[in-house]
Symmetry: C2
Subunit: 298 residues, 2 copies
Amino acid sequence: MDFPLSDYLKDRKALVDAALDEALPGEANYPPVIFQAVRYSLLAGGKRLRPILCLAAAEAVGGDYRAVLPVACALEMIHTYSLIHDDLPAMDDDDLRRGRPTSHKVFGEAVAILAGDALLTEAFAQMSAADRMPRIPPDRILRAVHDIARAAGFWGMVGGQVMDIQSETAAADEETLLYIHTRKTGAMIGASVRAGAILVGAQTGEIEALAAYGRHVGLAFQIADDILNVEGDRMALGKGTGSDAVRGKLTFPQLMGLDASRIRMVDLIARALEAIRGFGPNAEPLRAIARYVAERKM
Amino acid sequence: MDFPLSDYLKDRKALVDAALDEALPGEANYPPVIFQAVRYSLLAGGKRLRPILCLAAAEAVGGDYRAVLPVACALEMIHTYSLIHDDLPAMDDDDLRRGRPTSHKVFGEAVAILAGDALLTEAFAQMSAADRMPRIPPDRILRAVHDIARAAGFWGMVGGQVMDIQSETAAADEETLLYIHTRKTGAMIGASVRAGAILVGAQTGEIEALAAYGRHVGLAFQIADDILNVEGDRMALGKGTGSDAVRGKLTFPQLMGLDASRIRMVDLIARALEAIRGFGPNAEPLRAIARYVAERKM
């Protein structure tokens, strides 16, 4: 395995960070607090996994990854809005995120709710800016927007979050846990991969293969996150470890133990790699990312 | 003036209500509470002003109003999400909406936040469902989606709500009040009218005239709402009257008195009618709606 993933991730993250900074209005705009709040959360330095997967999927089917950058940025806006709302006192009531005080701790609850609303809305403004994607036919853009909206709403991420909240007081079972993980995290990771492929004109078979890759990687990523929550160190995650257990949150390690969780994760990564076996060298970044997730480094 | 507005509004409202009911998944879906919550707020029987304006604008430029129904429904979903979030304890902390307990009173704060998020997201899923608008070219749909997203986000409705929250503790001045009203209510009313026209292929001049109509009617509608809040009766509005004053909220009557507010509103309606003077009989519904707002009945 020679693929220089570390350089690749660094390069793509820099590209996404610059595009996000440029996409967001400055703090001198009116009313300043909303622009301060959205910039505070969006430019807090995440891994940019979803945008990078979107770019890598476009690349994997021979497309120009730069052409899908506005949609990649929108995916990160949707992810960030979900973190802001998840952290609210009425939800997970978290004080820290990525090592910094959460939005409502800095700006108050009302502005935090509105910052999330603004980011979700702006994501769709970015995705529908046809003049910024001149080489992509409008029908493809619409198809990607629709796919992403479905993955983000009650059938996907929001539905998963609803179940996650309810599961804290419910009895643990694998079906519920799978439901939560596949929707809360998996749906948007899958949509990120699909969107990149759809936008550059991938064939149906390619999109289906990438969708399977996205499903498996998405679930593996969440199991890795569960495992890290148990055994990771506080510095690496920027939030308290063991916090899921304290909260009585349903996780894979809690349900089946650490060893079985690791086996499950590795199996999912194998399936993700199998799904894109027919792809050429352009899919190396996707393969390397999947392996990286299995090493629980992402 | 012979236009049978009452019948027209009744007919269009029935059309929109049926389409909204059909667009939303039933409460038997999983997890039930999120579908219960979105249906509770969306099907609570509003006036459907924004969807009706969208349909009427399509009609005004000679288009088929039925063709734009998915977008009209999406506008009501965005409006309803904004009401759910505005009512939250961290925002206006309202217990009643349209004469019924607010979403967070019935479902709790977490589900209310998520129901708003789900409605905003589903609005974009509806708007981007190209197969449901087979006669509208994708580039027009994208343009309408972009226009609506801009009107709903930090440049529009969300920005206005941020200012509204901050103004409760700030000194009253007309510039701030105009800022709030033109963005919090006016932006989405304007976008509703523009979207209807854009989707059916209106000319640039027609879209500009309708945008002006929308701006004036939107601001007049908000002044009418301010006036009703002072003098209206509790039954008609389904919420406590005088509540703005109790809350120290900035309003037109408070700033310039009731008489001057009425004069301002009537002037705005006159300008709205002037903006669409060149339109033919197809614009009668828009004209009748503007006059209806001036009578503070809508």
